[in-house]
Symmetry: none
C-alpha cells in the first residue's frame, strides 16, 4: 500500500542542548513522550539540518527550506511573509513590514512600545486604511491587524525598494526614528518617503481616534503610533501545487508561518482557540488537521510553545510542555494510512535563549517506510536511525516520493 | 554554559585502512589510545569527508576546506601557500613556488636533488635575495629558506601568470629543465622568462658562493641550484576574523599548514623543538596551544608524524606513534570549557602510501555538545555517533555555532 497524504508536523524549537538542571539531558530527552516514542519506533529516523550544518535558522528561513524553497533564493525578509500571514495578499514586488502599535505621550516620546499590550488593533487598522492617502506617491496602502498589539503594513506601487530602516528606537522614553534609506538607490529613498508620510498621516488619525480618547479616559495607554520594521520585497514563489503536484494547507497560530504557507500556495486554515503559546488548544489543531487531510494532499502543522520556553531559558517548563504536546498527538497513532513527518524547524537551546545551528530530530512514519530500530524521539536517538543526516531541502522530495508523486528522472 | 574558545586539532593523516599486519585493524584501531577514547566518550562523534566523499585531498586543500575556504574557489596551487608559510608575505596576484636546493656538477648535471640534505639554506637565500636583479622585467624577487634543503620563491610584478613548468627533472643525473609556459598566454610566457633569468643569475651566485667552495673542500655536496615547482598565483582570502568573527592562531611544524593559516588570517605561532616528524616536541605544542587559547578565540593545531608513517607504508610504526600522540594529548582531558574538535585532514593508508579519499573520524567535545554513546576514537566507532557524516566545509559553521558566534539567518 502507498499512502496518498502527507502530514508535516513541525514542533517549533522543540530540540535543545543538554541542560544542567535536567542532569545533562535535553528537555526532549527528559520529557516522558510515549506517543512520540511510539511514533519513532514505527518510523525511519534521523537528524536534519533544516538549512545546512551549523547554520542558525530563523523560523522563516527554516520553514521555507522545509517546504522546498531554498531561502538563499526565496527569502527576502520577514516583513512581507508576516504581512501575507496577517491577510494582506502580497503580490511580487510589494513591500511588507512587520509592525506593532505603541504609545506616544504629548511630547512625542514613546512611553510603551506595545500600547499596553492592547488586545486588538483592528479598529485602528480600519481607520488608517480608510484615512491614509498615499496616492500622491502612486502608492496603495495595506494594513492588517496581527495578534494583540501586532499589525502588518504593505505598500504597492512602482519603484519601491526594501532597504529602509525602522522607526522603532527599540527602547522606551525615546522619540520614534525617521525611516531612512539604507542605500543610495532612488527606490529605497522613495520607500522611505512613502513610509514617513504613512507614519505622519496615521499618527494624526490615531491621535484623534475616539477609541484612543476613551482609552486615555479609562487610564489605559493609547495606541497612537505604528512602529514598523523588517522591510522586505515580496518574492515570486513557484506555487506549491505546481512545484510538488499536490494540494496543501497550513495550520499555525503564528502569522509568519501562515504567511509562508500562504505565500508558497498552501491554504491557511483558521483554527479557533490556538495561540502559538502554551495555552493553545492543541486538540483543536489536531482535529482540524485531520479534517484538512480529507480535503488536501498535504498539511503543514506547526505547534509552537516549546520554542517560547527555549527563548525564555526555561528547561523544566519546556520539558513539561513537551509532555502536553505529546499527549495531544495521541490521535496520530491511529493515522496509519498517511505519511507523517515530525521534526523541529530549529534547535532553541535554553542555554542560548535563541535558535542555534544544531541539527533537529526527524522521523517519517507511514506505509512503505523502512522502519529502523530507533526507540525514542529525541536529538540523539534519532541520529542512529535509517535516515542518517539529511537537510531540510531533502525533506519534500523524500515525502513526495513516499506517496509516489515524484517524477522519475531518467528512464 | 556556552564555551568561548575553539581548538581544532588536526591529527595529520592519522586515519588509515585495515592493515594485514594489524589483523585487519587500522593503526588507529590497533593503538592503545585511552586519552582519545575518553575524549570520544565525552563528544559528539562522526565521520567527515574533508572535501567530499571519495575525493583524495592534499593537505593544502583539506586544511582550506576545514577552515571554511572551499578549495574549488580558493586553491591556486601549493607554491604560494608554502611561500607564505616560509615567511614571504604573499599578496594577491604574486606568483609563488615551492623549491629546494640541489647540487650540480661542472657539466651542469644534477647529482643530488637535495644538496646532500643540507641543514639550512638561509645564507644562500640571503645571497640570492641581495644579488639577483629582475628589475628589467619589472619584477621583485622574494626567497626564504624552509626546513632543511627547502626554500620558497615568489615574484611580484604586473602581468605574471602561474601556468609554468618546473626546472626539476625529478631524477638525478639529468640536467635541469628550462621553465616553460604551459599555455599561450603572454602572462605565462612572462613568468617563464622571469623564472629562467632568476635561475641563471642565482646559479652564478651559488657557484661563486664561498660556503659552497668550503662545502666542496669539505667533501660535501654544494647547494648550487634552486629547483622550483608548484607555481601558483596567490589568491584573495576573506580574512578569517571577518569571515567567522573570531581571532585565531595556527600551530604547525609544516610550512604549508602555517602558510594556509597565515594566508587566511590566522597568526602563525613558532614553537621551539617541533619538526613535523616523529621526533617533534608534542608537549611543547600542547603547552603553546594552551597559551594561545588564552589570547585568541581559535587555534588550529596540526600534529604530523602519523602521516609520514602512512606515506612510508609502516603500519606498526604508525600505530606506535599514534600512542605517543595519545599520551601527549592528556592535558586536553582537563580543558572542559572550550570546544575541542579532533579529526584528520585525510586518510593516509599504509597500503596506498599516499592520501586516499576515505572519510576521517571527527569528534567534538565541550559545553553544549550532545554527547553520544561512541566509546572509542577510530575510523569505525565514530561513524555511529551523533554527527553522522559531515563535510569539512560544515565544520567551522558547527564550531562557531557552538560558541554562539554564528549569525542567525532569517528571523
Amino acid at each position: 500500500m502507498t499512502a496518498q497524504k502527507i502530514l508535516l508536523l513541525v514542533l517549533d524549537g522543540i530540540a535543545d542542548r543538554p541542560c544542567e538542571v535536567l542532569d545533562g539531558k535535553t528537555p526532549l530527552q527528559a520529557a516522558a513522550t510515549p506517543v512520540l516514542d511510539r511514533l519513532a519506533q514505527e518510523s525511519v529516523c534521523g537528524i536534519m539540518d533544516t538549512i545546512a550544518p551549523g547554520i542558525r535558522p530563523g523560523s522563516d528561513t527554516a520553514h521555507l527550506s522545509l517546504l522546498g524553497y531554498p531561502p538563499e533564493r526565496y527569502y527576502t525578509g520577514r516583513g512581507p511573509l508576516e504581512a501575507e500571514g496577517c491577510g494582506i495578499r502580497m503580490e511580487a514586488g510589494m513591500i511588507g513590514f512587520r509592525g506593532n502599535f505603541g504609545s506616544l505621550d504629548s511630547n512625542g516620546t514613546i512611553i510603551d512600545r506595545r500600547a499596553g499590550r492592547i488586545a486588538s488593533t483592528a479598529p485602528f487598522c480600519d481607520a488608517i486604511r480608510e484615512g491614509v492617502d498615499l496616492s500622491s506617491f502612486g502608492v496603495e496602502l495595506f494594513i492588517e491587524p496581527g495578534a494583540g498589539h501586532r499589525a502588518a503594513v504593505a505598500f504597492r506601487g512602482e519603484g519601491l525598494g526594501a532597504n529602509v530602516t525602522s522607526n522603532d528606537p527599540k527602547h522606551e522614553h525615546l522619540p520614534p526614528l525617521p525611516i531612512r534609506p539604507m542605500t543610495d538607490a532612488g527606490s529605497d529613498l522613495h520607500t522611505a518617503e512613502v513610509a514617513n508620510e504613512f507614519l505622519r498621516q496615521s499618527q494624526e488619525i490615531l491621535f484623534d481616534h475616539p477609541l484612543n480618547k476613551q482609552r486615555i479616559a479609562d487610564g489605559l495607554l493609547p495606541a497612537n503610533i505604528v512602529l514598523i520594521r523588517g522591510a522586505g520585497i515580496m518574492g515570486r514563489f513557484e506555487p506549491f501545487p505546481e512545484k510538488w503536484k499536490i494540494t496543501g494547507s497550513v495550520i499555525s497560530a503564528a502569522a509568519l508561518i501562515s504567511g509562508i504557507g500562504s505565500a508558497v500556495g498552501l491554504e491557511p486554515v483558521q483554527v479557533p482557540g490556538i495561540t502559538g503559546s502554551a495555552d493553545s488548544d492543541l486538540n483543536a489543531k489536531i482535529a482540524y488537521t485531520e479534517k484538512e487531510l480529507d480535503r488536501k494532499d498535504f498539511v503543514l502543522l506547526n505547534i509552537k510553545g516549546a520554542d517560547e520556553f527555549g527563548h525564555d531559558g526555561k528547561p523544566l517548563l519546556k520539558r513539561d510542555f513537551i509532555e502536553v504536546i505529546d499527549s495531544a498527538l495521541a490521535p496520530l497513532l491511529e493515522w496509519h494510512d498517511i505519511i507523517i513527518a515530525i521534526c523541529a524547524d530549529h534547535t532553541t537551546p535554553c542555554s542560548v535563549m535563541d535558535h542555534s545551528g544544531d541539527p533537529v530530530p526527524i522521523i517519517i512514519r507511514g506505509p512503505g517506510v523502512r522502519v529502523d530500530s530507533v526507540a525514542a524521539f529525541d536529538e540523539l536517538c534519532t541520529a542512529g536511525g535509517g535516515l542518517s543526516r539529511i537537510r531540510g531541502g531533502d525533506l519534500m522530495p523524500i515525502l513526495v516520493d513516499l506517496i509516489n508523486r515524484s517524477e522519475k528522472y531518467g528512464a
